[in-house]
């Protein structure tokens, strides 16, 4: 995830509000008197409104109720079931256009057989995101606050802010999108989760496991969001055929912001999807990402065990293939549902690797081809209960480092880039008391650090949503 944003502005707002509340406490008696008078006023108003509602009801039953209902049971709606009529007095015009607001609160209790501080993905340059397992014990997760509404007949806007347990606010997404483009076109501008693959666009509260698969953690630092433009087109066909192109500022891993006016990152994706009978639906896609890095710094140790900062500059090209299949008897997901999904990614990075940028300043050509995939299944075996299992794997592939090949440095000077096959197995059980709450227990056998270095992790997680009823993508 890209940059963190200061909460200073919000704090300042909060501070300006504080004095008001303390003052108010002093004036409690005055307030009480005022409240009493208000109460009296309201009682009178309610009476007036009631009279008005009865009148309006009498007037409105005439046109809406079926007048020609012939038989005996045609009694109109009893008065106690009459809908609340929006009264112009009861609503202030300033709040009528408030956007839909929803908030997801999450947190966890986490235990691990190894300390989370030394967690890393062997064989891959760190992606910089908050990807490791959480600290042991109780943790406050990200609270996701989403605001969204139509701007006018042509645009809608949405903001999702993630407030972390470390008291930081990160703008996850903030974008406008078009509503009125012709011919199946849809455009977005701002910061948004890129549309490649399947999981990249899914917000954290909707993940089926407590964390993203290793391949997303290592390749994109959980999820790729950057500032840019997206254009999507859906073909006019009975099968879903969707193409998308994005141009961004390249600020998201594996790219870096390069302070140039040109396009620094391009993404292309295509999705196809449909139904197989009434019970099964599916979607599959391929995506391609072209990103550039300028001095993308990462920390490692040298052959002597001293910390060094190395940096990669060059091109990163990633292929992604994704597929999802959902099955529910008669298509009724309220009872039982099976969801299978998998994604494969392959990345080629080519450019220059600088060793110990603060010291020796040695640099040489670099070429690396890494790949990874995951496959998972989640089964809702009865309403409200789901079980799931996931297998994640990564492979460093071939890495050519000129500084090593030329004998300038040894492989021991780049321990993090030594070939490795990290993997992880996770199983989970979750209970969803309602559409708005989820409690999850998850166990993982995590071999990401190095071959044979296993971390056993247990997580209890909670997720609660309040506010506007969210609508989720497929």
């Amino acid at each position: 995830m890209s940059g963190y944003h200061s909460i200073a502005a919000l704090c300042a707002l909060g501070l300006t509000l504080l004095p008001i509340t303390t003052e108010a406490a002093d004036d409690a008696t005055a307030l009480r008197a005022e409240l009493q008078s208000l109460q009296a006023q309201y009682a009178a108003r309610v009476e007036a409104l009631e009279a008005r509602i009865t009148r309006l009801e009498a007037a409105s039953t005439a046109p809406t109720a079926p007048t020609e209902t012939p038989a005996d049971i045609s009694s109109a709606a009893p008065p106690d079931l009459a809908p609340a009529l929006p009264s112009s007095d009861s609503r202030s015009a300033t709040t009528a256009f408030n956007p839909a607001i929803s908030l997801v609160i999450g947190g966890s209790y986490h235990t691990a057989s190894r300390g989370p501080e030394d967690w890393q993905v062997a064989g891959f340059m760190p992606s910089g995101g908050e990807v490791g397992p959480g600290a042991r014990g109780f943790n406050l997760g990200e609270s996701e606050l989403t605001l969204g509404a139509n701007v006018d007949p042509y645009f809608s806007a949405m903001l999702t802010a993630a407030i972390s347990g470390e008291n930081e606010i990160e703008v996850e997404e903030a974008f406008v999108r078009t509503l009125a483009l012709p011919a199946g076109l849809n455009a977005k501008a701002g910061r948004f989760f890129s549309g490649f693959g399947y999981l990249n666009e899914v917000h954290a509260h909707a993940w089926d496991f407590a964390e993203q698969p290793l391949v997303y953690q290592a390749f994109f630092g959980n999820q790729m969001a950057q500032e840019g433009l997206q254009l999507k087109w859906i073909a006019p066909a009975d099968l879903l055929i969707e193409f998308g192109i994005e141009a961004g500022n390249g600020s998201a891993f594996p790219g870096t912001r390069r302070n140039r006016s040109g396009l620094d990152a391009t993404t292309l994706f295509a999705h196809v999807g449909g139904d197989i009978g009434v019970s099964t639906s599916w979607r599959a896609g391929v995506s391609w990402l072209d990103q550039r890095a300028d001095e993308r710094v990462y920390e490692d140790v040298n052959a002597l065990g001293d910390p060094v900062a190395n940096a990669f500059s060059g091109k990163a090209r990633t292929w992604v293939a994704d597929a999802v299949l959902k099955w529910a008897p008669d298509g009724n997901a309220a009872q039982r549902q099976l969801k299978l999904q998998g994604e494969y990614m392959r990345r080629e990075e080519q450019g220059e690797l600088a060793y110990d940028i603060d010291g020796s300043g040695l640099a040489g050509a670099y070429r690396g081809t890494g790949s990874g995939w995951y496959l998972q299944g989640v089964y809702q075996f009865r309403p409200r209960w789901r079980v799931g299992a996931r297998y994640d794997a990564l492979n460093t592939g071939t890495t050519r480092i000129a500084l090593i090949d030329d004998g300038v440095l040894g492989a021991g000077d780049f321990p993090l880039l030594r070939a490795a096959d990290p993997d992880r197995v996770s199983v989970m059980l979750d209970w969803n008391p309602s559409e708005f709450s989820r409690l999850r227990a998850q166990y993982a056998w995590d071999d990401a650090r190095a071959e044979g270095v296993r971390d056993r992790q247990f997580t209890l997680q909670y997720l609660f949503g309040i506010g506007a009823h969210g609508a989720h993508k497929y």
Partner: protein, 301 residues
């Protein structure tokens, strides 16, 4: 791989056969509104129904097939009142189809034409999955369908002015047949008036309201909240003392709780179609109410 190959093949065929769309393409969210659109539009409409009577429409997902249909639809006929809130907004937004955006002529909500029952006076999800605009399961009162039919016929005529006379005539014809049918149903249902019943989920509210059935209890203690053993125990005690005539269940509801209660209090469970296609008898809108009444009257004789 075969899926990919088949998709590629399907894509070629589809793209080749793209032009020649004479009829209005309609995406209806439920089988009832789909059936009504067919009644009114005849061969001038090409209706795709997003869900079936065996599905809980509130829990449907924004499937790729539905996104594809939303893309090409000229008219979206939704139930509204937030019944489809978990998936329809995504489809409409992602569709890239400006014809079916809310406010456009191609966006039609059935519930928006009606006065809803059970509009909550207090909005708090502690009361379960309540719908702020009122109970959305409006189709089980045939008088509601008559009202929606008029509005929908007008909308079809507005969208396709060349065939306005056709829709007006079909609308009039449907209304005549429908009012006669309501009269028939009303007289058939007379013995049901005042019968105490147990419902599943407050989704038969409009049916009970129309027929004058007396809803004495719901198996779900709150909308969307499954009953606990303790709650069911209380129901047995309460209903054992004053047994209802029937327990109503829709085809898409889980049958376990209803059967359990039925065995304890010795009151029959009636499985109702709820929507067109919910039972073999509910082939169309007329069949929906004929079959509903057949099933209700069969056990109350």
């Amino acid at each position: 791989m075969t899926i990919l190959l088949r998709s590629a093949l399907a894509l070629t065929i589809l793209l080749a056969g793209l032009p020649a769309q004479a009829a209005i393409k309609v995406l209806a969210t439920t089988s009832d509104w789909g059936a009504l659109t067919r009644e009114l539009g005849g061969d001038k409409v090409d209706v795709y129904v997003a869900t079936s009577a065996l599905q809980d429409v509130h829990r449907v997902e924004a499937k790729p097939s539905l996104l594809a249909r939303a893309r090409t639809a000229d008219l979206l006929v939704a139930n509204g009142a937030e019944l489809e809130i978990g998936w329809l907004p995504v489809l409409v937004r992602e569709s890239g189809n400006r014809r079916i955006q809310p406010g456009a002529p191609g966006y039609f909500e059935a519930a928006a034409q009606l006065r809803l029952l059970e509009v909550p006076t207090r909005l708090d999800r502690a009361m379960g999955d309540i719908h702020p605009l009122g109970n959305p399961h409006v189709q089980l009162d045939p008088r509601n369908i008559g009202i929606v039919a008029k509005a929908l016929a007008t909308r079809l005529a507005a969208l396709d002015p060349a065939n306005a006379a056709y829709y007006a005539e079909r609308g009039h014809d449907f209304d005549t047949r429908w009012q006669l049918a309501i009269a028939r149903w009303n007289s058939r249902a007379a013995p049901l008036a005042g019968a105490p019943v147990v419902v599943m989920h407050r989704d038969q509210v409009y049916l009970c309201h129309w027929l004058g059935l007396d809803e004495v209890a719901a198996i779900e203690p709150k909308p969307g909240v499954p009953p606990s053993a303790g709650y069911l125990g209380q129901l047995v005690v309460k209903l054992g003392a004053a047994p209802p005539r029937l327990i109503l269940r829709n085809t898409y509801n889980d049958q376990k709780a209803a059967e359990w209660l039925s065995a304890r209090i010795h009151v029959p469970v009636v499985t109702l179609p709820f929507s067109v296609g919910g039972t073999p008898g509910a082939k169309d809108l007329f069949g929906l109410f004929d079959d509903t009444l057949d099933r209700l009257l069969a056990v109350t004789k």
